[in-house]
């Protein structure tokens, strides 16, 4: 059997292909499409079973599809014993549930094709999660399960509850998933390897970084596996159709976190905060989930809290890091997948046949549906840990793992505490298992029986098959044990090997089990007293309330940040950008200068004042005119100063050996000045002046600092240059091409395409300018009545503003429209009308000039 081909990538593709086919087929075949949907998971399960001998012999099938090899990202697959157990759960149980769906849904169900397609996509993603060997691929598949789960929980998208529950599940799992990704990157960077098997085989050195990385990864895993205090999304997600809950929230998705914990445990169980976190969180989850399961009236919610409890149990076992615990973990993993999905399916049938799943409205079902009751009884017995079901040897192994006599074990005190916690959790599990069977099937004298039909045989087949599997595996626990040992051998061994078995002799563990059963029976019999006790207990702080507080807090914080930063004022926004430049790269520059990390040119190594003393004259012109432009509040003098500044720049270019630039700049400056004159002529003669004061002084300070920062960086960067300019090759090229002006050659030949782009920019600007100016004139001809509205409109728009409108705006705007199209010059701008005569033509003239 060593030659089972590595079909896994093909099977994943099959999932995607079938998912695409399902929606169109659903219209024609109704719920029967689920039989087709069952094919890919069934294929995966069969493939996995065929590979069992090879995998247990220690040669896991591997495949690798490169994705971004340079970044360590690849679709690597590796199916070892742990992955095999998960594949059997995800795909094997998945195939059974898909078969059940074919009987559960009616042909008229809304969005049936979509539901089937997403479920298959989910099955494929989950298969990817448990088989991939690359941290990044794991993250991608992980989030795919979150997204498909979101769509499945929110299947009934017309219900607000469903949408809200779906969003809550998505926010919780993807939000913490991001933290997990950070943890992955930290782990991978520390180890220099993003393959999971490599990471576990050769974990990076311990230290605060490793601890932080592991905590981040664990937070992601805990949220996915609904651990306290992030468990709240799971009961909420019960709004999903029952088969979806049976699949996602019992067998597959919620096991993702447990799987990750178990996957990393062989490498990291000894590290940092791992043990403390895993043991305390797992224990708390186990007890809290069990306690809350006891008070549920809705059978499905009872199972949901039971699942929370069992997931805590699994986390505890998976993370403990001993061989016995790992053996128990595989046992409980498979047992839980079988019994919990069977129970969910039973609830689905009850709901389907009677229309309710409330304990207080169900009575007498045991008599009318004996087969179903028997199946549920078996599954519940497995959940409670009774022999000869698979739940029993698994729970025995779990108790054994924390017997203080077992070595290597946690310190004795911790072992006692964990053992006591597991025992309490088991008592609660027993009690709610009993409560489930009693609540669903017993005759209750106080409840009227509802008319109902027993389910059809194919419908009941799925839970019966799953329960039967619980029984068969319980009778032959060595079948599971092979798998468990295949995973557990990587962990530190105890003094003697431990195997899953029904009978270990009269051990202390058996005594504990007996005590647990006795206490559980007592708790069930005194359920009224337990109920009163639960009601008397103060309500614990609700984790869901915490979630809402968190969401509300994020919203409020976002609003307050928006309020502070979104002032709506352009100068403030630009100022923030400038300040950011100063704070981030500026602080780095200052730090570099202070620590000497940046070379500063000293005397003799390039420090000099000027190349040419004439620069002094030009620089004086530039500095004086630019500062004067700033201080000038009359428009025309400011324009003149700007113009002088431009010609000063041209002079500087001459000094710098750039005659082409000087020539171009002189032309451009002349044109710009002319255009500015034409526009300024219409505008008020002075700019509005900002009052002197702190805001203004602050602005001056900010701008000076930013300008200085840029100039200093420029100075240092140019000084740090080591390579010769790339343009040295152009000399020969120009000679070959027969040109002598290098700048011209670059513009017109070497980089001609860039120049074409430049021409396009200028042409676009010309078109835009023409349309801006001309559009206005047409308005006045065609749309005269609209001018009255136009006169009102600005008023409305500005009415909310703080600055009061300058008086007379309306009056200024009104007389505009009677003016003819030609008399654009007759603007009520308060300027000399005589000078306006050629205004319109001149504006267009400026366009033509370009």
């Amino acid at each position: 059997m060593n030659d089972v081909p590595m079909l896994l990538p093909a099977i994943l593709v099959l999932h995607a292909a079938v998912a695409v086919l399902l929606p169109p087929l659903a219209g024609r075949f109704g719920a029967r499409v689920f039989l087709l949907a069952a094919l890919p998971p069934a294929a995966a399960a069969v493939w996995a079973l065929a590979g069992v001998p090879r995998i247990l012999a220690g040669s896991p099938p591997q495949a690798s599809i490169p994705w971004a090899p340079a970044l360590g990202i690849g679709l690597d697959f590796r199916v070892d014993a742990l992955a095999l157990a998960m594949v059997l759960l995800v795909s094997g149980v998945g195939a059974v549930i898909f078969g059940y769906c074919a009987a559960y849904f009616h042909a008229g169900e809304r969005g049936l094709g979509r539901l089937a397609a997403i479920m298959v996509l989910f099955a494929g993603s989950m298969l990817g999660v448990v088989t991939t060997d690359n941290l990044f691929a794991l993250y991608v598949f992980w989030e795919l399960t979150s997204i498909t789960s979101f769509l499945l929980v929110g299947h009934d998208d017309r219900k607000e509850h469903a949408r809200r529950a779906a969003t809550q599940a998505l926010v919780t799992t993807t939000g913490t998933g991001l933290l997990m990704l950070i943890g992955f990157i930290m782990l991978g960077a520390a180890a220099g390897d993003y393959s999971i098997s490599g990471l576990v085989a050769d974990p990076p050195e311990g230290g605060p970084w490793l601890t932080a990385a592991l905590v981040l990864v664990l937070v992601g895993a805990f949220a996915k596996s609904a651990q306290v205090p992030l468990h709240f999304w799971l009961p909420g997600a019960m709004i999903a159709p029952t088969p979806v809950s049976a699949y996602l929230h019992a067998a597959a998705m919620v096991k993702g976190g447990v799987y990750l914990v178990a996957r990393l445990a062989p490498g990291f169980a000894e590290a940092g905060a791992w043990q403390v976190l895993v043991l305390s969180v797992g224990l708390a989850t186990m007890v809290v989930g069990g306690w809350r399961a006891l008070r549920q009236d809705d059978l499905k919610l009872l199972l949901a809290y039971g699942t929370v409890s069992q997931l805590g149990f699994l986390t505890l076992l998976g993370g403990a890091g001993t061989q016995v615990a790992a053996t128990a973990m595989i046992g409980v993993l498979l047992a839980h997948g079988l019994f919990k999905s069977a129970l969910f399916l039973v609830v689905g049938i009850i709901d389907h046949q009677t229309g309710t799943r409330s304990i207080s409205r169900l009575s007498g079902l045991g008599r009318r549906m004996p087969v179903l009751a028997a199946a549920a009884g078996l599954a519940a017995a497995s959940m409670a840990g009774l022999p000869p079901l698979i739940g029993f040897p698994a729970k025995e192994a779990a108790l054994e793992a924390f017997m203080p006599s077992a070595a290597p074990a946690p310190p004795a005190a911790a072992a006692w505490a964990v053992l006591a916690g597991v025992a309490v959790g088991s008592v609660l599990t027993f009690a709610y298992s009993a409560r489930f069977v009693w609540g669903a099937f017993s005759d209750k004298s106080t409840v009227a029986e509802r008319p109902s039909e027993p389910p059809a045989a194919p419908f009941a087949a799925a839970p019966v098959a799953l329960s039967a599997a619980s029984l068969v595996l319980g009778v032959i626990p060595w079948a599971v044990d092979g798998l468990a040992q295949g995973y557990a051998h990587a962990l530190p061994a105890g003094p003697k090997p431990y195997h899953l078995a029904l009978w270990h002799g009269l051990t202390p563990t058996l005594l504990v089990t007996a005590l647990v059963v006795a206490a559980g029976v007592l708790m069930f019999l005194r359920r009224r007293a337990v109920g009163r006790l639960q009601n008397a207990m103060p309500r614990w702080p609700d984790a869901e309330y915490g979630y809402h507080m968190f969401v509300h807090g994020v919203y409020t914080a976002a609003l307050s940040v928006t309020r502070r930063t979104q002032s709506g004022s352009l100068p403030v926004y630009l100022g923030i950008i400038l300040a950011t430049i100063l704070v981030l790269p500026g602080a780095r520059l200052a730090a570099g200068l202070a620590t000497g990390g940046i070379d500063v040119p000293g005397p003799g190594e390039g420090l000099r004042l000027w190349n040419n003393p004439l620069e002094l004259v030009v620089a004086a012109v530039i500095v004086v005119t630019s500062i004067a432009t700033l201080r000038e509040h009359r428009r025309f003098p400011a324009l003149i100063l700007l113009s002088v500044l431009g010609f000063g720049m041209a002079g500087l270019f001459v000094l710098h050996g750039a005659p082409d630039l000087a020539l171009t700049l002189v032309l451009v400056e002349t044109l710009t000045t002319i255009i500015l004159v034409f526009v300024l002529r219409r505008l008020p003669t002075t700019f509005s002046v900002r009052p002197d004061g702190w805001p203004k002084r602050l602005t001056v300070l900010l701008c000076t600092a930013a300008g200085t920062f840029i100039a200093v960086s420029l100075w240092l960067m140019t000084a740090a240059r080591t390579h010769p300019p790339i343009s040295t090759g152009y000399t020969d090229l120009a000679k070959k091409a027969g040109g002598s002006n290098l700048v011209n050659m670059i513009i017109a030949d070497f980089r001609a395409l860039d120049t074409l782009g430049e021409v396009v920019v200028v042409a676009t600007a010309a078109v835009a300018v023409a349309s801006l100016v001309l559009l206005n004139r047409r308005d006045r001809v065609v749309d005269e009545p609209a001018a009255e509205n136009a006169a009102e409109a600005p008023k409305d728009r500005r009415s909310d503003e703080e600055d009061p409108e300058p008086p007379g705006t309306g009056a200024l705007a009104l007389p505009r429209h009677p003016a003819g199209p030609e008399s654009l010059g007759a603007e009520p701008s308060g300027q000399d009308p005589a000078r306006e005569a050629g205004g319109a033509d001149a504006d267009e003239g400026s366009d033509d000039d370009r």
Partner: protein, 124 residues
Amino acid sequence: MTAPGLLMVAAVAVLYSTGFYLLLQRSLMRVVFGIVILGHAANLSLMLTDRAITLPPLLTGKEGAISDPLPQAMALTAIVITFGVTTFLLALAYRVWLGDANDEVPADLEDRRIGRLSEPEDQS
């Protein structure tokens, strides 16, 4: 190691500072002035990356060190683009003035409205 002359570096600092200051004004015309000055500042910065050799990049047969032509070509392009941007902004300023009878940049009212929200519009 060759660094540009400190005098020119100071000129760049002044140009950037005044350009930024004008950019932060409310009057659109001063904003346009600011962009013109920032254009000058950027062109001068480009020129300073040259090793500051003062012979024009012309192959006149005279062998010897010449200025780096690449920053010059880039500055030339930048000058023309700045011109295009400037005229476009001027046309915009003109339009704004036609509509509002002043050339000030008003505050964005939508931003203010968002800032005034205090309660989530939709809790779900």
